[in-house]
Symmetry: C2
Subunit: 129 residues, 2 copies
């Protein structure tokens, strides 16, 4: 499988696949005579793993750590758990922030009748204070 097919199969762009390789997240692929990258089942699984992590907003540096841990199957999984719990607490933090943003934005929208001039607009007044 060449890079284009891997890209279509996984939904990752070709540039992203090459970027993951450069960052050491994907193992170095074989090459054809013409220097094209060649992938197999293994690369597909590696890439799906990365995609799953990224869909959970786990930063690449942590994905890399997870891959390293995955390759030490006999060790304790405590650090896997710690990493995911940290990610969870980040998500919780961001949710609380967004909740506050939402409340303030909603109040702003409700203070604007759209029939005002900018000068009299409740939104601009809010932002100014």
């Amino acid at each position: 499988m060449k890079i284009g097919e891997l890209s279509k199969t996984t939904g990752c762009s070709i540039q992203t696949i090459r970027y993951y390789e450069k960052e050491g997240l994907l193992s170095t692929p074989e090459r054809t005579e013409g220097n094209y990258r060649l992938y197999g089942e293994r690369a597909l699984k590696e890439l799906e793993f990365i995609k799953h992590c990224r869909s959970l907003d786990i930063p690449l540096i942590d994905v890399k750590r997870l891959i390293e841990l995955k390759n030490k199957p006999e060790e304790s999984c405590a650090s896997v758990n710690a990493l995911i719990e940290q990610q969870l607490s980040l998500v919780n933090k961001r949710m609380r922030e967004l909740k506050a943003l939402k409340a303030e934005l909603q109040q702003m929208v409700s203070s604007c009748t759209t029939e005002n001039t900018v000068e009299a607009c409740g939104i601009i007044k809010s932002l100014d204070s």
Copy 2:
């Protein structure tokens, strides 16, 4: 007031203030004989406006538009409203995404006893599928 004082008063870093100026969000300040930036009440208000917008996660390009609209006080505020509503819908979208992330992360954490090896870890299994 020199840039250091403005920075302390507003909580914006000195580099950020200079960055906002370069991006055209803050009006060009006067300079002392020694080429130091000099700010007054007006700059303080401009910067507070930007800070308030940024605390709502409004991107700088939209902050710039809001500033332009603010300087046309006689026009209709419809586009102000549109901009804030768009920001609100972005926040809502992100909240829905984070809710899904949170659910999956929580399920992962609950599938890990920390007493496992990496090989048997429920988190790694989730990420692998």
